[in-house]
Amino acid sequence: MSEFFQQIINGLSLGSIYALIALGYTMVYGILKLINFAHGEVFMVGAYGGYFIATALGVDGYEASGAGFPLLLALVVLVAAMALSALLGVTIEALAYRPVRSAPRLTPLITAIGVSLFLQNAAMLLFTPNPRRYPAILRELRFEVGGVIVTNIKLAIFLVAICLMVGLQQFVQRTWTGRAMRALSLNMDAARLMGIDVNRTIRATFAVGSALAAAGGILFGLDQITINPLMGVLTGMKAFVAAVLGGIGNIPGAVVGGLLIGLAEQLTAGYLSPDYRDAITFVILVVILVAKPEGLLGVVRQEKV
């Protein structure tokens, strides 16, 4: 039984990382109807951003002295990396997506694939393809509760993810920018007629989504210990599946989807075979798309002629 709870704990912490990334996919899709393939790479750049900022702040020195990295500096790393990724997301939108926004749906999709490839390979050039050990922004402490091992890192991942998701929900529901985002996802033309600055709102969407992905990247680095330039490919796909599972365009859906994918992956790895931990995500994807294409929390939209 304790093994089962162990898998649940691991699944929830992994799932909350997927949920953070899935939010970016779902927000962009909700507004632009674009699968932002480059989002997985924004997540990767966020992880590297955190790595370099933490190194610059002297994390190695703290680690060597055994004192542990101050919590305040860890927060600085998180916020700075999020800002960096937000900037990257906005730049990608301005340079690659805005010019093709009104083109047929296929064109932006292929552009997104191009941006994703570009970032992967640029990262391999700049950061070398070798995996890097993630700096110990948090020093690991282990607790044992009834045979289940819980680390402070897993708790922190869960906590940070929850805070960011609640923050996002408040942002989307309560601020003018959030309201503009919701208006855009309902009807972009009508929103424009109501005086909403479409470009500004889309920029804000990319900034927020990319910042959340960066937070996911840092948490992923803490959780999985190493990072590499291709880490965004598979993780990005899984997060996208999470968004589809929850109902793409639906913010609570992305969170539910992320947690479910994380749990499914851990339980498959624990009870079936670790070889199929990646396959289960895609099996879920195919099943959900065939059985309920609008996702768990999605709404069926009637097709207009």
Binding site: V100, A103, I110, G114, V244
Partner: protein, 342 residues
């Protein structure tokens, strides 16, 4: 093959058979010439270009002509590659005892294996297509992506096919290198003829109608789902042939040869040439093979440049080089009398 079903007196069938025989002879001669005259490196690029043409022309039927979007075609290529390799290895000893070891046995083995590979890849396409082609646009793209990954992971864990280390046949020497200039371009011609005949038939017109407006096509009593599944199956089968040719070009195949990147390569081919154009897709296939080789000197920069190229094409000329137009080969048939071979 279907000559017997037609009236024997029809002179155009005689002409067609003649042109076909001449083409094969010319192809064989060209193959011998290439083998004698060109260094192995150039030969290899030509083989890759031919395989790319098959992939691009096949994928174009679904992505270009029908307007659906598959980003998981590497999966079907993998099915074809593994099936062809496996069947070829198991079949070779039996056929060698039947025909005597040598060229004839090799050719029969290879082509039988390729056909089985194509059939199984087509079957995989059918299995993927049947449930998922009810979905539209992006969702279909995601399902194909998911299936492509699942197929690869299955091969990664199939121990009788070598698992993650790949399949090299039963002998230490690896897979026999059946793939030659003649066979690659023989299949290029077969696939192009097949896809061309489908595209310019009534079925092809219906596929274009689905691309232009699926609801209107359905209102005109076009069986949209059935046709989409048909196009998808056919497209998967051609990817299977390309996979089989690819498998026997080298000593072994690995699951990682058929990653998501391979699907993207195929999309780049048809995007460069122009969605919906057969000759454009063929040009795109050649372009990708040659440009990746030319950029090899740039070492680590080449994939960055490749990605930039893709973005720039999308921003500057999203319809590709040829768009939906075809290269005009009319002057050939005009010069050599009435309509020649396919």
């Amino acid at each position: 093959m279907s000559v017997a079903a037609r009236p024997v007196g029809n002179p155009r069938w005689g002409l067609r058979a003649g042109v076909a025989a001449l083409t094969l002879a010319a192809l064989y001669a060209a193959g011998l010439g290439v083998q004698a005259g060109l260094i192995e490196y150039v030969q290899r690029i030509m083989l890759i270009a031919g395989i790319n043409v098959i992939l691009a022309v096949g994928l174009n039927l679904i992505n270009g002509t029908t307007g659906q979007f598959s980003i998981g075609h590497a999966g079907f290529m993998a099915v074809g590659a593994y099936t062809t390799a496996f069947v070829g290895v198991k079949l070779a000893p039996h056929l060698a005892s039947l025909f005597g070891a040598g060229m004839v046995a090799d050719a029969v083995t290879f082509n039988l294996a390729l056909l089985v590979g194509a059939a199984l890849a087509g079957l995989a396409g059918l299995v993927v297509g049947l449930p998922s082609l009810r979905l539209k646009g992006d969702y279909l793209a995601i399902v194909t992506l998911g299936f492509g990954e699942i197929i690869r992971i299955v091969f990664n864990n199939a121990q009788f096919l070598g698992g993650a280390t790949g399949y090299n046949g039963d002998s230490a020497a690896g897979l026999p290198t059946y793939t030659s200039f003649f066979w690659v371009f023989f299949w290029v011609i077969v696939v192009i003829a097949l896809i061309r005949n489908v595209t310019f038939s009534q079925t092809g017109r219906s596929l274009v109608a689905i691309r232009e407006d699926e609801i209107a096509a359905e209102a005109m009593a076009t069986p949209t789902t059935r046709l989409k599944v048909l196009a998808f199956t056919l497209s998967a089968a051609t990817a299977g042939i390309a996979g089989g040719l690819f498998a026997h070009m080298q000593a072994g195949i690995r699951p990682e040869d058929f990653k998501f990147d391979k699907s993207i390569d195929m999309i780049v081919m048809i995007i460069v040439g122009g969605l919906g154009s057969i000759s454009g897709a063929a040009l795109g296939g050649i372009f990708v093979a040659v440009s990746l080789e030319l950029m090899r000197d740039l070492q680590q920069y080449r994939l960055v440049l490749y990605a930039l190229l893709l973005i720039v094409i999308m921003l500057v000329r999203p319809e590709g080089i040829l768009g939906q137009r075809e290269l005009d080969f009319g002057w050939l048939t005009r010069r050599f009398g009435r309509k020649g071979g396919a």
